[in-house]
Amino acid sequence: MVLTLVGSPISTCTKRVVAVFLEKQVPFKFVPIDFTKGEHKAPAFMEKQPFGQVPYLDDDGYIIYESRAICRYIAEKYADQGTPLFPTDLKAKGLFEQAASIEQSNFDVYASKAAYEAVFKPNLGLVTDKSVVDSLIKQLEQKLDVYEQILSKQKYLAGDELTLADLFHLPYGALLPAVGSNAIQERPNVARWFNSLTERPSWKAVKDGIVVTA
């Protein structure tokens, strides 16, 4: 039975997962959820995803949620096909986990909140608090200064090979211009790294919304 991804065509976390499906050349069925109708809070949905969030994966009855966990599962299950996204050596794995943790605590924390404040709130009819956005971007910029250093010595965040940790940055990194921040492009090594990610066919295929392959 083909993998089923239940998500929203425009959601950042759904795009994060679909990009990895494409990198690993894994066919999947996409079941779109309509936020405006509150479908993600319906009992049938919350039975599978108790936090009422998108996306979740149904692999022939086996359910996984949390986009990064889904990505890791796909990368493990289909390790032998498509782009290698996970190291196998112990020390390389340690450096991969370091990079994955950096993405969560030193990037996503600021970038996702800034995106919510500046981009999603207006879509929901709420008012952006610009001082909140400015503070988050300022903190993000301090972290990106460290990224600039790291990426001056190596091609990707975990070393010289692409890993999931790099790809995890795509959805919110790509939204920064809409937030009003040019922080990535202002830093040469960060820009080089990030642009190499956005140029990948897997990202180009999802950046404007999700299409189905199976």
Partner: protein
Amino acid sequence: MVLKLYAAPQSTASLRVAQVLHEKNVPFEFIPIDLRAKEQKQAQHTEKNPFGQVPYIDDDGFVLYESRAIGRYIALKYAGQGTAGLIPDQSDIKALALFEQAASSEFANFEVHAAKIAYEKLFKVRLGFPTNEEVVKGAIDQLNVKLDVYEGILGKQAYLAGSELTLADLYHIPFGTRLYRAGLGGLIDSRPNVAKWFNSLLARPSWVTIKDGITSTA
């Protein structure tokens, strides 16, 4: 060469790593970093952890930072000793994915909110800055929603990834205990399944040994 842990004796992330070292019976030398003197921002430290944070480890020349990454590295390297299954075996990719789901949840659904409370009500106060009560209220509201979900999950299984303890459970302890310090232990205590789970984690010898401060074991 014995593993070196460069950390602050009571910092949340430092405690997170120290607990895993104890669970896996890995001897380590503790080198205290003085946060009040901003030692973590000095060149000698940022050369190893460019984000200027604690902790980092030096495992015979192999340097790693980010507490959750260090915990995973230790659990993988010493898979054959100490507490088993802190990360499920790679041969069972479904169990591994359920662990990753729980680990992702720990950060995105718990720490994000608990850390805000700790920052506003403990860290800022210690430094003499005023607490932003609106931020605290927002974080409490979010945690209430998330912990209701935890209550449901833990009503069906003993731990967050299934029937076995994993790193995903242990990683909640440092900021979980901070909630009590901030006078908000009720968030956990008011939910029977969550309380039972959390108290079982606190009772583990690995936590009892380090909760008042990290010390070298080698």
